[in-house]
């Protein structure tokens, strides 16, 4: 069967599954719609959280980023998993005991303030929309590459699917579709990884193959990779090039940001008991770990495969560079998408792939008659092209397409739900119309979910900046705005509304301004960034990706100082804090 037909079949079958689940698990109460009736088993919730959490960035981009960054890519591995420790130990059990529906609702009651609730809603909406734009973009890319439909049409199809199960099923529908999506995405990620691990090392478990010796040789995979890339002037795969403080701050921002992302936090509202919330965080990280422990293995093997395809023998020997005429078929496929580009700078008909930014390597390159790096590879294609590079059968390629879409849709749905809950529950019921009936609130939730989907689709079609930057921005904001007031609200009785609001506003404004200054994020229409995004210009050498850590520290400092200068919170707030600290 032709690959395209096969892909249509596999992706189509996965859609039928999601919609079937959505119809079976319709929401009938606001409790169902916001928190799945609080009846989700902790293991099932862990799996749904994993799908909710692992976005198009985790599935499509991360291994490719690591492939080209080597050790520096560890910030994503540690940053996007370590946040679960913070969630499990510091937030999830207490928020479950609080037992309401949304994150702004907790802020409102803990700080006894409507203003704080509105500030929290603003933070939540900014974070979630920037994040969802990246997901919709991912859906569009997968559709256009594998199903050969235009990005716009791909977006409309993706939006239609999410519409059906998010609007109909609410949190209940989303939870059960996310479980199905987790199974699809982990299977799609693991199968090609197993085959490639077998081909390269003879060890079928990719997590272990990562530390094994290469087939027919006694040298370890990572040692071989270090030799091969340094021979081409690249920095060694296992050592870093970023400043230690910057690596520290980026990792911390991603961790704190993870713990502060509303669509992740709200998943822990859906389990029956406090002790379930604790275990559920462990299960979530276990299921996430299955992919995150595979990703660095996939990254290193993809880098090895790519480099060896281009550089077939000793560096410098003329015949050791791939003849462009003889390029493999996956090379042609991805050239057609523009994500892989060859430019024969020295007109020898062969591909030279090396680090032309390395001054120490320049004299050698000149001696070989090389005239600059001739290959540009978009890191995003490493995972998607992997099955083709390893010459795997068509169904594996189709499966990877379905997996990429599952990863993007599951995250998008989770985000859209927290947006709609913030509008219908926090703004409408909490502030504007406190006496709204449950049926009307449910309807309002559905309407706002539908609106959010349309806006998300629009943002996916006209992304404000590069997707990866937008996502980094969401983490920085979550770390700097929402995490501190929630944490302080549980562990301190002294923090009051003045402190919390001042802290959130400081963290949000500082972090947004810093990123905007270097990235020109939402003012893309107004022009380019205000300053060049290079280490010399950064505050203390911290990049915009890591600035959320500083923003969070500022938030803590401001919240604590302002609270101590103003009156202690009222007795009912102190009682609430007491109440959430004990499971009974």
């Amino acid at each position: 069967m032709e690959l395209k037909t096969l892909t249509y079949l596999v992706v189509g079958a996965s859609f039928v599954l999601y919609i079937g689940i959505a119809i079976w698990s319709r929401a009938s109460t606001t409790g169902d719609f916001y928190v799945a009736g609080k009846g989700v088993h902790p293991l099932a919730n862990g799996m749904a959280t994993a799908a909710d959490w692992m976005s198009a960035a985790s599935f499509i981009s991360m291994a490719g980023l690591i492939a080209f960054l080597g050790y520096d890519g560890s910030v994503y591995l540690m940053g996007w998993t370590g946040g679960y420790v913070l969630l499990a130990l510091l937030l999830a059990p207490y928020l479950r005991k609080f037992g309401k529906f949304t994150v702004p609702e907790f802020i409102a009651e803990r700080y006894d303030s409507r203003a704080a609730r509105i500030v929290a809603v603003v933070c939540l909406i900014v974070i979630s929309f920037t994040y969802v734009a990246g997901q919709m973009r991912g859906v569009g890319i997968v559709f256009s590459r594998f199903l050969e439909v235009p990005i716009g049409l791909g977006l409309v199809i993706g939006m239609g699917i999410v519409f059906v199960y998010a609007v109909l099923g609410g949190m209940k529908g989303i939870t059960y579709t996310q479980i199905a999506q987790y199974c699809v995405l982990i299977f799609a990620y693991t199968v090609p990884a197993v085959f490639i691990a077998l081909q390269i090392t003879g060890m079928p478990i990719p997590q272990i193959a990562f530390g094994s010796t290469v087939q027919g040789d006694s040298v370890y995979l990572l040692q071989k990779l270090d030799q091969i890339v340094t021979a081409l002037g690249f920095p060694a795969y296992t050592s870093g090039t970023k400043g230690t403080l910057d690596v520290f701050c980026i990792t911390a921002a991603l961790m704190i940001g993870t713990a502060g992302l509303p669509h992740v936090i709200v998943r822990f509202f859906t389990v029956p008991k406090v002790r379930d919330a604790r275990y559920s965080a462990g299960w979530a990280l276990f299921f996430i770990g299955l992919l995150y422990l595979t990703a660095p293995a996939v990254g290193s093997m993809a880098r090895l495969n790519l480099t060896e395809t281009i550089q077939t023998g000793t560096v410098g020997a003329e015949s050791a560079n791939l003849l462009y005429e003889d390029r493999p078929s996956w090379f042609r496929t991805w050239e057609a998408t523009g994500l892989l580009e060859f430019n024969d700078l020295n007109d020898d008909g062969r591909v030279q792939y090396y680090n032309d930014q390395n001054p120490e390597f320049a004299p050698r390159a000149e001696m070989y008659g090389w005239n600059g790096n001739e290959l540009r590879v978009d890191p995003d294609i490493m995972v998607l092209a992997n099955p083709e590079i390893a010459s795997l059968p068509g169904w594996v390629i189709a499966l990877v397409a379905a997996g990429g879409i599952a990863a993007a849709l599951s995250t998008a749905a989770g985000l859209l739900l927290v947006i709609s809950a913030a509008v219908s529950h926090d703004l409408l019921k909490g502030v504007l119309m406190p006496h709204i009936s449950e049926r009307k609130e449910l309807l309002a939730g559905r309407i706002s979910a539908a609106f959010a989907i349309v806006i998300a689709g629009f943002l996916g079609y006209y992304p404000p900046a590069f997707v990866a930057q937008v996502v980094a921005f969401a983490f920085g904001l979550a770390a700097a705005s929402l995490f501190p007031p929630i944490l302080l609200g549980i562990f301190s009785k002294r923090i009051n509304k003045e402190g919390a609001i001042a802290g959130m506003v400081t963290g949000l404004v500082f972090t947004y301004a810093y990123i905007e200054y270097f990235k020109g994020l939402f003012l893309r229409w107004a022009g380019s960034p205000w300053a060049e995004d290079v280490a010399e210009n950064w505050l203390f050498g911290v990049s915009p990706e890591g600035i959320g850590t500083i923003g969070a520290l500022l938030n803590f400092a401001v919240a604590i100082s302002v609270s101590h200068l103003t009156a202690a919170p009222p007795a009912k707030v102190q009682e609430l804090v007491e109440h959430i600290r004990y499971p009974r």
């Binding site: 540690m78 990562f210 990572l222």
Partner: protein, 86 residues
């Protein structure tokens, strides 16, 4: 009064447990994976340099173990101090 004391002891025990777990969390990621990475890389661990392994795999394995350990200890503490859910 007795009830309040019991609750205070439970909360203190919880804070100690959280602090201990966070210390491990910090050590395996920020410590071994970032601040001490060069130093640990002198040690070969199977096919890995040890610091690199902690940064890309070891820290994640520790995080998973840590959360399950915390959940298990906390559920135990709940019962010990009589604040468990029915």
């Amino acid at each position: 009064m007795e009830n309040n004391n019991r609750k205070r002891r439970y909360w203190q025990a919880n804070l100690r447990l959280v602090a201990g777990c966070l210390l491990v969390w910090f050590t395996v990621s920020f410590g071994f994976g970032i601040l001490l990475v060069e130093w640990l890389n002198q040690v070969q661990f199977f096919g890995f340099e040890l610091g690199f392994w902690f940064a890309q795999q070891g820290s994640i394995v520790c995080f998973i173990g840590l959360i399950f350990f915390y959940a298990w200890r906390m559920n135990h503490l709940d019962r010990e101090h009589g604040v468990e859910e029915d």
